[in-house]
Symmetry: C2
Subunit: 916 residues, 2 copies
C-alpha cells in the first residue's frame, strides 16, 4: 500500500488479484486482503484444483469505498478490464461475445470471515439480448440459455437494482410475474419452474425488464461492463446492509474489515442431467466423523442446494449417479484436507460431467465435531496437539454439556415426524412460525422453537432467540443448518411432513393441526420431532463426570473432551477456579477441572430455611448487643456450610467473600410478608415497615453494601470470620488435610476500610485459634470492583494479600452503567456499534480492562507476589479469559459449567500469546 | 531523628527543648516538632519577651507513644528532669521544695495547629501537702496557696485520674463536693468561690482526695514527679479523645501529627488585686480594625477568662486599672506584630503587677477581618501583597457574602437583649438549648440557633448544625466565640440578660419566657438579640456589586475585597467560570469575577411554565416523528433562554451541557399528577402510567441518561443543538460581539458516543449556518464523569475539543457511592477516619483525583492543547481548586456565590505551588 495521510485515504497499490489456469496471484495466507473465499480460490488454483478462472478485488477497495463517499480508486476500472482479459485468454471466450460462446461471470462477496447468506451474489452476468443468442447457439440449448438469462435479470433486478417486495405487496414482484405467466400459459400458477419452456423464459425476460423499467424508471443495463460495475457496487454496498450488520454484531466482526469481490467465470450445474451442484464437507460437521458428507442436486446451480428449495441427495449417492465425478471429488477431498489440514466445507459444480471447485473454506462444525476432528487429526498426524487446542472454539465447549432427551421421557414421547439432524442437542419449547413472534415470546421468558418452511437471513433474530430451529425444507447445509450449528442451537431440517400455514399460524403433521404456541420437542442428534414437551437429560460428559451413569469408555464424546483437556493442562499458565456457594457446586466444578473456589458468596447461605428470619432479626435489631445476639444465631449454619465446602474441596483453596448485598434485599417487601414476619419474630409490623423504608436506596448498587456493612456492623464480620475460621480448623483437624481459607472483603475503595475489616478478622482468628488450641493458615484479600480501588491498588496491596477482580461491579461502576437498567439503551448501542460485545458478558477491555491493568501494575508495585484473580461472570468468557492471561492473572473463576470453557480458553491464551 | 526500620519506630534524638531566661532551643519555625504553642513560646523567649521558663516535649514523642503501645522513648525521663533543672536554675526555685517557694508548673498540650478546648491542661502541678505549706509561707497568702492546691487536685483528678460525672449523676463530683461544703459551712450552696476561706479550701483538698480514693481506689499522688509523669501521659492520651477526634475530622487535621507537651513554670494571676489574666488580639478579630482588642479579669487565672464563668472587662480598661501593665502590653503588642507580621492572639498573666506572656499564636479572625487585616498590613508595609493573598483563608470568603439583617425589617424588629458581637453576619432560626436537639432539628431541615449558658467542646456538633450561637456568659475570646468565628457562624456572647432553664427548656429575658423551638434572630456584627424571625438582607459586597444599593466608596468591606481580588488576578493562572442556568445567575457570577459559564444545565429550562408539558409529551410519544414534533415545541423556549445567557455574557464563553437527567425525572409520579397531565395533553392515563413504570430504574444514577438519551433520541440533541446555534448566530448578529458556544456532551464513556452526538451537532450547525447565511465558531467537548471516560481519554480527545470534569458523578461512579444513599454509612466513615473530608464537597484527591490525572495525561497526549476544566460542585472548594491547579486545568467552574472563593484559591494555588 502506498503511503498517504491516513490508512483509509491511501490508494492501494494492487487492488485486483487474478487466479485460474493453474496459477494465482494470491494465496490462502491473504485472507485479510482477498477475503476468505478469494484467498482460498487462489490457493486452490495454485495447487492445481479445477477452479474456473477469475479475479478478486481486495478488501482495501471496500475500505477505500466507504472512506471516499462510495467511490473507487482510479485504477479499478482498468484493473477489472485486465482481469476479464485474463479470464478470456484462459478460457478462449470473450466477455459480451455475441457470436461465440460468451464469457459469463459470477460476482460474489467474500469477507475475511465467512458470513453465510449475509452478502449478495450475482450469477450469469454478461448476458443481454444479443449474448443470450450466442449462448443459445453455442450450447444448442435455448431453454438453458434463456433460463440463465431470466435468472440473471431477476437476481440483478433484485439485488443491484433494488426491485423488491414492497410492504403493500404479498409476493416478490419477479415471482408474481412468473406465477402470472404460469397461470396464463399453463393454467396453473403453481407448476414447477422446470415446466417452463424456452419461450416462456424468453417472455419472462421481457416482462422482467418491463417490471424493472416500471419500478426504477430506467432500462435494464444491456452492456456487460455496466452490469459488472453495478454488481461490484452492489457487493460493496451490501457490506453495510441490515443483515450484514446484525451478523457482524453477533460475531464481533469489525465493520472496518470490509469485503472483497470475487469475479469468476461461470460454470453451470444446470445444463442438463449430466450437470449438477453440491456442497460437501471433508468430515461430518455435526458429529466430526471422518466421512464424506454433503449433498448435491442434479441439473441445478449451487444456490439451489443452499437455498433449500429442493431437498438435495446425500453426496454418497453421487457414487451411483456419476461415479467418475464422485471419485474426482473424493480425490479433491483428500487433497484439501492434506493441504489445509483442517476440515473443509466446499462447493462444487459438475458441468457436463466435469467437476469444478467454486469455493473451499474451513468448515463450521458443532462443538462435539470440533473436539472429535481435532483429536482425530492429531491421531492421523495431520496436526499437532497444540494446533488441536487452538482449533476448538472455546465458546463451543458448552455444546458438549448441553442436554439430550431424558432416556425415560423419550420412550413415551410422541414422535410425529423426522428430518435431518443439523444441530446437536435436545430442545423443547413453544413453537412460533415467525421470527418476530419468537423474539417476543422469548422476551416474555418462554422457551421457544422457531419453525419455518426454510430460514433466511431475515430470520436471524428469531434464531438467536430460539432454543431450536425446525424447517420443512433444506438439507444439512441449508441456511438454517449452517447458522444453527454456528450458534450452538439445536436444529432439525428438511422435515417434509410438515405443512405450514403462516397466515393461520398453524403447522399440520399427519393430519393433526398444531397451533402456534404449542409445545414441540426436537432432537438435533437424530432429527426426530416430538409433539409436546419432552424432558431432557444431561450430556454424556455430565453423565460420565457427574452422574456416573456412563463409563468413560462408553462415551467417545467424553474421551475426546478428556484428551483435549489433558492437552490444555499441559500448556496452561492460569489456574481455573469456580464460583460456588455449596458443596455440590464445588464438586461439579472440581469434576470439570476447577482447582478451587474463586468466589463463594456467603449471602446465598442466608436465605435458606429459618436463617432468613435470623438475618431479618439482625437487620431489624437496634443496638450492637441485640444485633450481635441475632447474628450469632446464624453462626452454626454458616459454619456448617463452610465445613461442607472445605470438605468437598479436599484441600483446594477457597476464597470466601464476606456479606455483600444491601440489607434491604433480605427484608420482606410486601405488606403480607411483613405481617408474616411480624408474627414470626414478635416485632410490631410498623417497626418492620419503617426499617424497610429506611433501608430504601435510590441507587442500591452504589449504596450501603459490601464492606460498608461490615464497617457499620462489625458484628457481622466477626460472626462470618468466626464461622469460616472455626470451620477451617475443624475440617483440617477432622479430615487431615490443610485448609487455607482466603477471606475476601468486598467493595473496598479505601485501604482503611480493608484495614478495619482485616483487624477484626485477625482478632477473631486469634481467639478461635486459642480456643481450639490449633490454627490454620489464612489469607485476607479484597475484591477490586470499584474504580477507586483500581487506581489506589498500590495502597490497598500494602495490606491485602490477594485481589480478585469483581468485573461485574467494576463494569457497572467503571462504565456508570447499571446492568439492570441498561436494557433500555444497549440495543441501540449494539446497533450503532458503540459497544461491540455485551460488556456484562465479555470484559470491556479498553475501559474496564484498563482499570484492571492499572490495578495489576499498582498492586504488584506494592506486593510483587500478590495473587491476582477474577471472579466476575466474565471469568467464563473465552475472550475475557485470554485478556486475563495477558494481564498475567493467577487464576480465573467462573460458574461450574463454564470451567471447561475457561480451561480451554486459558490454554489457547498461552498458545496465542506466544507463552508456550 | 536517628535512622531506624521505619519512621514511627525510630527513637528521636532530641525530644525536649527548653526555653526561658532570654534564650530558647526552639523557634517559631519548628511548629511541626514543638507544636504551635511550644514553637511560639520559644520564639517569644528568644526575642526577649517575658516568658516564664519551661520546656517542650516534641510531637515525635506522641507519635512514638502511639506506635509503641503507649510507652515513651527511654531518654524521656532524664530529659524531663534536665528540663525541670533548667527552670529551677533560671528561677532559683526547686520543684517539690518544701521549704522555700516551690517551682510549680503548668502542663499543656500544643498541637501543630491550634485546637481550642480540645486538649487538656493541668495547672499548679507540684503541689502536695508539704509544698503547699512552703507556698503559704513564701506568699504569705494561705488562701491563695490552698486555692491553688484545691484547683490542682480538682483538675488533676478530673483530667488525669478520670474522676468525672457518671451518667447517673446530676453534677460534676468535685463541684458537688464544693456545693455541699458551701451549704454546710455557709448555708448556701450557690455562694461565689471567692467567698470560700483558706480553711474551706483546705477542707476541700481533703474531701477531693477522699473522692479520688473512692473513685479510683488509689491515693492521690503526692510526689511531684509522679504528678508530672501522669500529666504528660494525660496530654498524650487526650490526643485521641472523642472531642479531639471530632475536631480533627472537621478541620482535616491528620491523626499522625500528634501533640507536643509544654511544661512551663506557673505564674499566677490570682494572687490578689494586683494580679490578673487576659487574652488579647493585636487587632480586632471580628472587624479587622487595628485596635488593641481583648479582655482581662483581675485576680484570676487565664482559664477563668476563656471559660466564660465571669464576664471579663475590655483590655482597654486596663489602661485605667493598671496603666504600667497596659503600656507594657501595648509594647508587647507592637513587638509581636512587627516580629510575626500577622495578627496575634496572645495570653498574658499579670502577677503582682509584672506582665508575663504565656502564649501567642496567629489569631483566628472572621472573613471580613481577614480581608481588612491583610489589606491594611500591606498598606503598613508589614507584608507584601502576595503574603496578603496567601493569608486570607479561601473558605472564609463567603462570610463576606453572608446576609445582614434587612434594613427595613430590622427597624421594626423587637430587640430583647444585647451581648458581644463575636461572629459576624445575621442569623435567624428556632433556638435549642442543647446540642443534640439542635442537631436533630437541623436534620429535620430547620434553621437552628444554639443557645447555651456557655459552650464547651461537647457542644461542637450542635454548633456545626446551627446557623448561629448565642451564649449568656463569656466574652469575645470564649470557646463559643473562637469556634464560631472559625466556622463562620454568627455568634453573640455574654448576653447577661438571658436566664436559661435547661430542664424546662426555656429562656427568659426581661420576664418574657421563650420556649425551645421559638424563633430568635441575632446580629453578630452588633451583638443584638431579637425575638422572632428577622428577615436578612445581602452583604455589603452584594449590595455594591449586585444590587447597586451601595457605592463602592461607601463600603470598606467591599474595598478590601476588591483590592484582594485585584491582587489575585495579578497572580492567577486558572480561570474561574461559573455554573449558571439563567442570565441572572450569569450576571451575578460575572460581577463576582467569573469569566464565562463552565456549566449551563439545559434541563432546568425544561421545567418552567408550559415547557414541562411539551417535555412530557415528547417523552410519552412513540415514534421519532411524534417525538420530534413535541420536542420542536421546546425549541423557541430553549433558544430564547440561550439568547438571554449569551447576551448576559457579552462574549464570554459558555459551556452548555446537553440534556442529562433520566427522563422519568420529568414525568409526574403521583396518580393525581398523572391524571392531571392526562387531561392536559389528552393521553390516556394508563399510557402515562405504563410509561412512568417503564422508565423506572433500579439505579437511575447508572441508567438511561446523559448522552445515552441523545443516542436513543437524536431528535433531542438535534433540537438542543439548533437552539444553541441559532441563538449564538442571532445574538452575535444583533449585539455585535462574538459568541462561541461550547457544546458539552454529558456522560460519555465511549468515543463513539461522542462521535455520534458530535456528528448530529455538526450537521445541525451546517443547516443553521446555511439558513442564517452566517455562522459562528463553536466547540464540541465532553464531560469526564465516568471512570471509563477517564481511562480512555486519549481516544475521546481525538474527537473532543474540551473536557470538563463532572466530579459529582465521577465521585459517585469512581467510589461506587451514591450521594443520596451514603448518609447511612458516611457518618461512621468519617468517625473512623476512612474518609477525611466529605468526598462530595472536596475532591477525593487520591482516588477521583487519580482518575482526573489519568484523564489529563491521556487527553493531552492526543490533543496537547485540549481545554480542561471542572464543573462539579467541587469547583468552589479551595482544596479542590488547588488540586485542579496542580493538574494544570485551564479553569474551574462553580456556583456564582463561590466565584470569589475560587478566585482566591486559584491565586493561592499559584503562590503555594511555586508557580508565581
Amino acid at each position: 500500500m502506498s503511503t498517504n495521510c491516513c490508512a483509509s485515504c491511501a490508494t492501494p497499490d494492487k487492488i485486483v488479484y487474478t487466479f485460474g489456469g493453474g496459477t494465482a496471484e494470491g494465496n490462502s495466507g491473504m485472507k485479510n486482503l482477498l477475503g476468505g473465499k478469494g484467498a482460498n480460490l487462489a490457493e486452490m488454483a495454485g495447487i492445481g484444483l479445477p477452479v474456473p478462472p477469475g479475479f478478486t478485488i481486495t478488501t482495501e477497495v471496500c475500505t477505500y469505498y466507504y472512506a471516499h463517499e462510495c467511490t473507487y480508486p482510479a485504477q479499478l476500472d482498468g484493473d477489472v478490464k485486465k482481469g476479464i482479459a485474463n479470464m478470456e485468454s484462459i478460457l478462449g471466450r470473450k466477455f459480451g461475445d455475441t457470436e461465440a460462446m460468451p464469457l459469463l461471470v459470477a460476482v460474489r462477496s467474500g469477507a475475511r470471515e465467512s458470513m453465510p447468506g449475509m452478502m449478495d451474489t450475482i450469477l450469469n452476468l454478461g448476458l443481454n439480448d444479443r449474448t443470450v443468442e450466442a449462448l443459445c447457439k453455442a450450447t444448442e440449448n435455448p431453454r438453458f440459455a434463456w433460463d440463465c438469462y431470466r435468472r440473471f435479470v431477476q437476481m440483478y433486478g433484485d439485488v443491484v437494482l433494488g426491485v423488491q417486495k414492497r410492504p403493500d405487496e404479498d409476493h416478490e414482484p419477479f415471482e408474481a410475474v412468473i406465477s402470472a405467466l404460469k397461470k396464463e400459459r399453463h393454467g396453473d400458477a403453481e407448476i414447477e419452474d422446470t415446466k417452463l419452456t424456452a419461450d416462456d423464459l424468453k417472455e419472462l425476460v421481457v416482462r422482467f425488464k418491463t417490471l424493472v423499467k416500471e419500478r426504477t424508471g430506467k432500462d435494464f443495463p444491456e452492456c456487460p461492463w455496466d452490469q459488472l460495475n453495478g454488481a461490484i457496487g452492489a457487493v460493496f454496498g451490501s457490506w453495510n446492509n441490515d443483515r450484514a450488520i446484525v451478523y457482524r454484531r453477533k460475531y464481533n466482526i469489525p465493520s472496518e474489515w470490509g469485503t472483497a469481490v470475487n469475479v469468476q467465470a461461470m460454470v453451470f450445474g444446470n445444463t442438463g442431467d449430466e450437470s449438477g451442484s453440491g456442497v460437501a464437507f471433508t468430515r461430518n460437521p455435526a458429529s466430526g466423523e471422518k466421512e464424506f458428507y454433503g449433498e448435491f442436486l442434479m441439473n441445478a446451480q449451487g444456490e439451489d442446494v443452499v437455498a433449500g428449495v429442493r431437498t438435495p441427495s446425500p453426496v454418497a449417492d453421487l457414487a451411483r449417479v456419476m461415479p467418475e465425478a464422485f471419485d474426482t471429488l473424493q480425490e479433491i477431498r483428500a487433497t484439501l484436507e492434506n493441504h489445509f489440514r483442517d476440515m473443509q466445507d466446499f462447493e462444487f459444480t459438475i458441468q457436463d460431467r466435469k467437476v469444478y471447485m467454486l469455493q473451499t473454506r474451513n468448515g463450521k462444525r458443532t462443538g462435539v465435531a470440533a473436539f472429535r476432528i481435532a483429536c482425530e487429526m492429531v491421531e492421523e498426524g495431520l496436526i499437532d496437539w497444540k494446533t488441536a487446542v487452538r482449533r476448538v472454539p472455546a465458546d463451543q465447549v458448552d455444546q458438549l454439556l448441553t442436554p439430550v432427551f431424558d432416556r425415560e421421557a423419550i420412550k413415551s414421547a410422541k414422535k410425529i415426524a423426522s428430518g435431518l439432524p443439523a444441530g446437536p442437542g435436545a430442545a423443547a419449547g413453544r413453537f412460533y412460525l415467525n421470527a418476530e413472534r419468537a423474539v417476543d415470546a422469548a422476551e416474555r421468558g418462554e422457551k421457544v422453537l422457531l419453525v419455518r418452511l426454510e430460514t433466511s437471513p431475515e430470520d436471524l433474530r428469531g434464531m438467536i432467540a430460539a432454543e431450536g430451529i425446525l424447517t420443512a425444507r433444506g438439507g444439512v447445509s441449508s441456511h438454517a443448518a449452517l447458522v444453527a450449528r454456528q450458534m450452538g442451537k439445536v436444529c432439525v431440517c428438511g422435515v417434509d411432513a410438515l405443512q405450514i400455514d403462516y397466515s393461520a399460524r398453524t403447522m399440520t403433521v399427519g393430519g393433526v393441526v398444531y397451533n402456534e404456541g404449542d409445545y414441540l420437542s426436537i432432537d438435533g442428534n437424530t432429527g426426530a420431532v416430538f409433539a409436546g414437551k419432552v424432558e431432557t437429560s444431561p450430556s454424556e460428559i455430565i453423565q460420565v463426570l457427574l452422574r456416573k451413569t456412563m463409563k468413560p469408555e462408553e462415551s467417545r464424546v467424553y474421551q475426546n473432551f478428556a484428551k483435549l483437556m489433558e492437552w490444555c493442562e499441559a500448556c496452561t499458565r492460569m489456574k481455573v477456579r469456580t464460583n460456588a456457594d455449596s458443596p455440590k457446586q464445588a464438586q461439579t466444578a472440581v469434576a470439570f477441572g476447577a482447582v478451587g473456589i474463586g468466589l463463594c458468596r456467603t449471602e446465598h447461605m442466608f436465605f435458606e430455611g429459618d436463617r432468613i428470619d435470623y438475618m431479618r432479626e439482625m437487620i431489624l435489631s437496634t443496638g450492637v448487643a441485640a444485633r450481635e445476639a441475632a447474628v450469632n444465631k446464624l453462626l452454626p449454619f454458616q459454619k456448617a456450610d463452610f465445613k461442607g465446602i472445605f470438605s468437598a474441596l479436599k484441600g483446594l483453596p477457597a476464597t470466601i467473600r464476606l456479606l455483600d448485598p444491601p440489607l434491604h434485599e433480605f427484608l420482606p417487601q410486601t405488606k403480607e410478608q411483613q405481617l408474616d414476619l411480624s408474627n414470626k419474630i414478635g416485632m410490631p409490623v410498623e417497626v418492620i415497615m419503617r426499617r424497610v423504608s429506611e433501608l430504601h436506596e435510590f441507587n442500591p448498587m452504589l449504596g450501603h453494601r459490601g464492606c460498608r456493612l461490615g464497617i457499620s456492623y462489625p458484628e457481622v464480620t466477626r460472626m462470618q470470620a468466626r464461622a469460616i475460621l472455626e470451620a477451617a480448623v475443624e475440617v483440617s483437624e477432622e479430615e487431615g488435610f490443610d485448609v487455607v481459607p482466603e477471606i475476601m472483603i468486598p467493595l473496598v475503595g479505601f485501604k482503611k476500610e480493608f484495614d478495619i475489616q482485616k483487624a477484626i478478622i485477625d482478632e477473631v482468628a486469634k481467639s478461635v485459634f486459642e480456643e481450639k488450641g490449633r490454627g490454620v493458615e489464612y489469607r485476607v484479600g479484597t475484591m477490586i470492583e470499584i474504580p477507586r480501588a483500581a487506581v489506589t491498588a498500590d495502597q490497598i496491596a500494602e495490606s491485602a494479600e490477594f485481589f480478585s477482580f469483581g468485573t461485574n461491579d467494576l463494569t457497572q461502576t467503571g462504565l456508570g452503567m447499571s446492568r439492570d437498567d441498561s436494557g433500555s439503551f444497549l440495543g441501540k448501542y449494539s446497533e450503532l456499534e458503540i459497544i461491540k460485545k455485551n460488556v456484562f458478558a465479555s470484559i470491556d477491555q479498553e475501559g474496564v480492562g484498563k482499570l484492571m491493568q492499572i490495578a495489576c501494575e499498582l498492586g504488584r508495585k506494592s506486593r510483587p507476589n500478590i495473587k491476582l484473580g477474577i471472579c466476575g461472570e466474565h471469568g467464563g468468557d473465552p475472550d475475557s479469559v485470554k485478556f486475563c492471561n495477558k494481564l498475567n492473572l493467577d487464576y480465573v473463576s467462573c460458574s461450574p459449567y463454564r470451567v471447561p470453557t475457561a480451561r480451554l480458553a486459558a490454554a489457547q491464551a498461552v498458545l496465542e500469546q506466544g507463552q508456550a
